[in-house]
Symmetry: C2
Subunit: 330 residues, 2 copies
Amino acid sequence: MLPVALDAMGGDKAPEEIVAGAHRAVAELGVPVALVGQPEVLRPMAGDLEIIPASEVIPMSADPGASVRRMKDSSLVRSAEAVRDGKASAMISAGNTGATMASALLRMGRIKGVSRPAIATPIPVPGHNPTVLLDAGANAECQAEWLLQFAQMGAVFARDRYGIVEPRVGLLSIGEEASKGNDLVKETHALLSRSGALSAAGATFIGNVEGRDVMTPDVDVVVTDGFTGNVVLKTLEGGMRTLVSAIFEAFGTSPETQAASEVLIPALLPLYGTLDPDNTGGAMLLGVDGLCLISHGSSSATAIVNAVRVAKEMHDHGIVDSMRAAVALT
Amino acid sequence: MLPVALDAMGGDKAPEEIVAGAHRAVAELGVPVALVGQPEVLRPMAGDLEIIPASEVIPMSADPGASVRRMKDSSLVRSAEAVRDGKASAMISAGNTGATMASALLRMGRIKGVSRPAIATPIPVPGHNPTVLLDAGANAECQAEWLLQFAQMGAVFARDRYGIVEPRVGLLSIGEEASKGNDLVKETHALLSRSGALSAAGATFIGNVEGRDVMTPDVDVVVTDGFTGNVVLKTLEGGMRTLVSAIFEAFGTSPETQAASEVLIPALLPLYGTLDPDNTGGAMLLGVDGLCLISHGSSSATAIVNAVRVAKEMHDHGIVDSMRAAVALT
């Protein structure tokens, strides 16, 4: 396997935690990793790891399109080029998400027939496989035909990523009936209901689902536009954070509750682990002609190890070719 | 104060729990309540309460528009007529939400100048005032001018309902910058940024907010279209339910955790109470020319008491007239 091109400069904890994750990934998974970034910064910590030089760093808050066009020697652009040029099997970044998408799209290009790439984000479901939510933010305005492709690509991802033989695809709406929702949803519902819409993807359309279904085992892939998807993702993040901190506050009410909580915390750790974004393996940009994984901004070394693991699995499954096939037939 | 017209036939637990709530509201709050529904069903449990007769009941899952047009002697239509005809100060229903909106809109009409009514739903924030989310589902497709009015009406509601002197209004988007979001959000951002947009409502526009801000004390009113708002509401409901049941499952891991959880549950009760939809007082349909409160489908007697309390407070504040003023000047 070609090395994974890891943007060593991207993320709140770059480069130290990112590079630490690279070393761990090599040791624990046996997957080769190349660090992409400024050699003078990386050399002291790179050890045996290959360095793909890039002199520029796109800041976390920079405008994606402009920075990718202007900063041609940035770690993000060079990571995407490594995949395009057959020097890397995948790219991973915990940096500027928009710039990661733009780099991948502009350098790797789209899979033939794909109108727009979409971000697929795993939403944790305690005790079950995560729900794949897409588009989680790549396209604020969408068309029904794009959402059909998101469904096809998301189903392939759910199968290759979680081993779901026949993923159940739901369309996010505000009522189960086909008549419910906005115009985009109604139009997409009609496209997804056509026989064969998801057959090349090996998936089943289960109709509309609602917000309350996202974090349940009742659906494997939830399709929506990138505006709604991003709102859902961040709403859940914020809601979970609020609830968890209110619970910890209640735990500290008195010495008695404090003592009781010490008994409970070990039992709560698995749940905490399920919800920790470091453990999901990150989001994936579907529809570009190469593997591009997006790790969250505050990624630790563990998040990077998990992203490298996902990159290897998706590479071994040949997911890009499966997606090519899934979108080609409609 | 004129009696509150309570749809005694609407809701999963109607009529028993609804009527029990009416009795408690009269006793605890001293607010007169009239039961609207089938006299033969209600008479045995009505006691001294006035009954406004209505022979029909709109089912929970019926098509709102068609059922309201056809079932003119339904408890929902008669409740709305009671407000319109000056026989009731407000209507409350835990029944079919769409039919509640349609009844109120068709019978009471809109406040002059209001393009579309919107549902304002309080989102609980532990330790703080709830965040008012609107539109929570009345209008799946929206225009920027409507969202401007939602902001104005939502601000008046936040002030009258929670005593917030100068409510902070945020526009739900997928990034804080004005350039982020879909076309509707960008257009609405421009309208809300115009000087004076919220001055008659006594509110401040704080710019875009994200999903993660909804359940925090950082914003008082979150404005969005009815599709996104309903998705947010149900996503939070589902996410909270999943997390709370996973926590309770962890509590039952062993006899030790079971014992420890018994110490903790009293400390968690206030949080549980904050999240319980029976305690929020329900949602309110803003923009119709009269008071219309929407209680959730599984409302208990307590939910009805709280809704009656809110109806009285909103009546005493003269909220409909305040909303008339807030939308009149732009």
